[in-house]
Amino acid sequence: MTSRVDITLTVNGERVTRSVEARRHLIDFLRLDLGLTGSHAGCEHGVCGACTVRVDGEIVRGCLVLAASLDGAEVTTIEGLSDSGEMADLQDAFIARNAAQCGFCTPGMVMAAADIVQHHPHATRAEIREHLSGNYCRCTGYQAIVDAVEATLEARGGAAR
């Protein structure tokens, strides 16, 4: 039994080796150990979605993942997603439609929205809402966010209509 664990993983394309406390969740690891503060710790029990990041290509709740369990994993945060440019159009659509106000939910929201763009290019408006139902936004009322995702899908030529 050990309370510290050595891990080597890839974060936004860079190889990282650290010794972490077993109780460290992925978001604290990213924010406090690596200085990647784009991922937000909101409720810290898996409800709000502000901590959404990619692990091995799939979105997860970063607050419900042990950093210690990620030896060998590939993690992508909002910083990596932004730098890659793969969702630049989605991010532009968020800005154009004012789909953020205080911005606390926005990194997680964009990570979840990117999952729609990536895996569900033909999503209907209802399906977009369903997919984003696990990400809380207390400012925008969601309409602008759903609009931004829908506009991105349409512009990429995959929307249902």
Partner: protein
């Protein structure tokens, strides 16, 4: 809130899991997808000294057809369950259930074994597994034993799992041409636990109902197999009168407690509505429209 301090050990074989369980007893908890356990640790509902990560145990993975049964490994994640072609073909109830479970990011981590072991009375998978008349495959250092799903859930958040034992897999009888299944629920918000839900299977043979298994969730201490409603349906032609008879019989099956969502009367009402919705789906198209 932050998790309490705990140790972490990664097991790669069942033998390692059993050894760690034997060594640490009640101080150790198994960690699969962690989507329930880690959330409850954030609330400090328990303070285990050691988390044993079992996600690297290959023996707990995989979905396969074996002798007329669909064997679903305990580590199967909800997202995997939802897109697996064998599951869609042989246990479509589970495919239909997946979108009701939480949200995509949680479905990418949470496992069927974890959901069944936690046994939340409002969760979808325990009810589905009982409706499908499945068998739980439980493993320990002493070997494997099998427990009918209906006997596995023994009370509020309680199961037939013994100390030192884990869920290895679930064995589901495969659907036939006569099989029908449906899951319906009422939740305040998409992805929330249900206020009330119903998972059901039955066979329709020449329009006659055989072996109906109506299982309600969110209305009791665990999945509730509705014995009286099932008896009211057995051997009858499926029509509006049969559905009405099941709804009437249901009163004797359910004893819901009040919870944050509302009083027992509301739960009973919702269960009746869900019974109508689920069974109506099996009516011939003309009758369903009438």
């Amino acid at each position: 809130m932050k998790w309490p301090a705990f140790g972490y050990a990664r097991a790669s074989t069942l033998e390692e899991v059993f050894r760690l369980q034997a060594e640490h007893g009640d101080d150790a908890r198994l960690l699969a997808g962690g989507q329930t356990l880690l959330a409850t640790l954030a609330f400090r509902l328990s303070e285990p000294k050691l988390l044993v990560d079992i996600t690297g145990v290959a023996a707990l993975r995989g979905i396969a057809l074996q002798g007329g049964l669909l064997r679903i490994g305990a580590l199967t994640r909800h997202a995997e369950l939802g897109r697996d072609p064998l599951v869609a073909q042989h246990a479509p109830l589970l495919t239909e259930a997946v979108p009701f479970i939480a949200h995509p990011a949680i479905r990418n981590r949470g496992t069927i074994g974890g959901s069944l072991a936690y046994a939340d009375p409002a969760a979808e998978l325990p009810a589905c597994i009982v409706a499908l008349d499945s068998t739980m495959v439980l493993a320990s250092a002493a070997g494997e034993r099998r427990v009918a799903a209906g006997d596995f859930f023994t009370g509020l958040l309680e199961t037939a799992l013994r100390p030192g034992e884990l869920i290895a897999a679930v064995e589901v009888p495969v659907a036939t041409d006569a099989s029908r299944s449906a899951i319906v629920e009422v939740a305040r918000r998409s992805g929330d636990y249900a206020m009330a839900g119903l998972a059901t299977t039955l066979r329709l043979e020449g329009g006659v109902i055989r072996a109906p298994r109506l299982v309600y969730f969110g209305v009791g201490n665990g999945p509730v197999l509705a014995a009286r409603a099932n008896a009211a349906l057995e051997g009858r032609s499926l029509d509006a009168a049969a559905i009405a008879a099941a709804r009437a019989a249901l009163a004797g099956d359910l004893d819901p407690q009040a919870d944050l969502h509302g009083p027992p009367e509301m739960k009973r009402h919702l269960a009746g509505v869900l019974t109508q919705r689920a069974l109506s789906r099996f009516l011939p198209a003309a009758e369903a429209a009438a």
